[in-house]
Assembly symmetry: C2
Homo-oligomer: 246 residues x 2
C-alpha cells in the first residue's frame, strides 16, 4: 500500500524517453480494469510529437506540462466504436443519450485512473489536466474526435525530474459516512477544514491574492461562479453536438 | 504490473471479515489520489449493517452482491461540503452548475478506482454496480444524500470466495489512437470485435437470448434504446433536483 500512500502529482519531467513498449504495456494492462458490461466505452489518443503537443497546448491554457511531458494521453468516453459495430451487425444502437454518456464517462475515468496507478508503480510521474473539462470542444477539434467520442481525462506522463510537492488532504472523517450521509454542524465543517486553512502554501495563496481567507481564493480566483456558468453552457452545448443529448 | 494484469471482478465473497482498520486504511490511502484543485469533491458512504444492505439492495435491482458482500461503498460526487465551508467563510460558492458536477464526478471516479486498485492489491475482491447510474434517485434517498451530493460509483467489497471469471477484452489497437483519432473502416471494426464475438461465453449469450449475434444481445436485451432513453430522463431530472443544473 506504500506506493499509493507516497504518490505525488508530477509536473516536471526529465528528458528520459518513455518507450513505446512500456507505454503500450501500461495501456494494455489498464484494459483489465472494470468496464460497464465489458463494452470498453473508451479510447485513448496518444500525443507524442512536438507538433501535436504544440497544437494541443492552447486547449490546456498553455500549461507547460503539455509541451514538456514526453507523452500526453487524452482518455475519451467512446460510444462511436461500439455503435458502429452494432450498426454493422444489424443491431439498433440506442446510445446517443445522457445515460450512455454517464456509462462511457465512468468507463473512461476508471481506465484513466488505472493507467495512472500502473504508471506510478513503474516510477513514472503523471498529472491530470482539469482544463479538459473547460475546453473539451477545442481538444475534440485538435484530436479529430468524431460523434459519440468526448475527452474525459488528459494526463501528462514522463519520468519525474524532481519530487512533486506535498499537498494537504482533509481528515478521513470529512470523507467517510457510516450507513447514512451525515450532515455536519457548521462548527464541525470549520474543524474539518482547519488543517487545510493552516497549511503554509494555502496561507501564502490567501496573502498573494489579497483575500480574507482560503475559501475566497477558490470562489473569487480559481473557480469563480462566472467562469463555471460560462463553461457549463459550453460543455452542455458541446455534448449536444457530440451526439449525447438526443 | 502483474497484479493489475491478473485482476478479475469478484462477485462472491467469503465470510471473512473486512476489518474497520483495513477499510479505513484503504479509504485514507486512496485520498492521496489526484483531485481537482485539491478540493476533494467526493464522499463515501459505507454500508455494512444487514439492514442497510437490505434497504439499499432494491436500488441495485436486488443484485445478490449487495447483501452478500461484507462492505458496500457508495462513492459520491460532493460539492455540498465545500459549498458549506465557502458559505461559512463569506465566499460566494458558484458550484450549482454542470461544469462543477463534471469536476466532482471526475474526483469521485478517480477516488473510487484508487480504492479498487488498493483493495485488490491487498487481495480483496471488488465489483462495480452499474445500477448506481440508473437508480441514482433511489440510492440518494436510501443514503440520505443532501443537495450537491450525487452517487457516482457503487462498489461491493470483500474477500473472494472463489476466482472471478475470465472475461475477454478488445485488442489494444482498438483503443489506442496515435496523435489523432483514427476512424477505422467497417472491415477493420469487425476485425477488432472478432475475438469478442468468438469468445465462448458470448456465443452462449447469443444462443440463450435467441439473437442473431452478440451486438443484438447488447442492443435488444442488455442496454436497449428504450431503457436508455427512460433512464436518461430520470438522470437529468435527478441532477436538476440535486442542484447541479442551475
Amino acid at each position: 500500500m506504500n506506493s499509493f500512500k507516497t504518490r505525488r502529482t508530477i509536473r516536471k519531467y526529465s528528458d528520459r524517453e518513455v518507450s513505446n513498449e512500456l507505454l503500450n504495456e501500461i495501456l494494455a494492462t489498464a484494459m483489465r480494469a472494470p468496464t460497464c458490461g465489458n463494452m470498453q466505452l473508451y479510447s485513448v489518443v496518444v500525443t507524442r510529437s512536438e507538433e501535436g503537443k504544440k497544437t494541443l497546448a492552447p486547449a490546456h491554457f498553455n500549461q507547460p506540462m503539455v509541451t514538456q511531458a514526453p507523452v500526453v494521453l487524452t482518455v475519451c468516453a467512446d460510444f462511436n466504436r461500439f455503435t458502429r459495430w452494432c450498426s454493422l451487425r444489424n443491431a439498433d444502437a440506442g446510445y446517443d443519450n445522457f445515460i450512455s454518456l454517464v456509462s462511457a464517462v465512468a468507463d473512461a475515468s476508471i481506465y484513466a485512473q488505472q493507467i495512472v496507478a500502473i504508471a506510478e508503480q513503474q516510477g513514472l510521474g503523471t498529472c491530470y489536466l482539469g482544463t479538459v473539462a473547460y475546453n473539451a470542444p477545442q481538444v475534440a477539434d485538435v484530436l479529430g474526435l468524431p460523434s459519440l467520442v468526448v475527452p474525459v481525462a488528459c494526463i501528462t506522463l514522463g519520468w519525474p525530474e524532481s519530487e512533486g510537492e506535498e499537498t494537504e488532504r482533509l481528515p478521513l472523517e470529512a470523507i467517510v459516512h457510516e450507513e447514512k450521509y451525515r450532515e455536519d454542524s457548521d462548527e464541525r465543517i470549520l474543524e474539518l477544514f482547519a488543517e487545510k486553512e493552516a497549511f503554509p502554501a494555502n496561507i501564502g495563496y490567501v496573502r498573494e491574492n489579497g483575500k480574507e481567507n482560503l475559501a475566497q481564493v477558490f470562489t473569487d480566483v480559481r473557480y469563480t461562479r462566472q467562469a463555471n456558468e460560462h463553461f457549463s453552457g459550453i460543455a452542455l452545448d458541446y455534448l449536444r453536438k457530440a451526439g449525447f443529448l438526443k
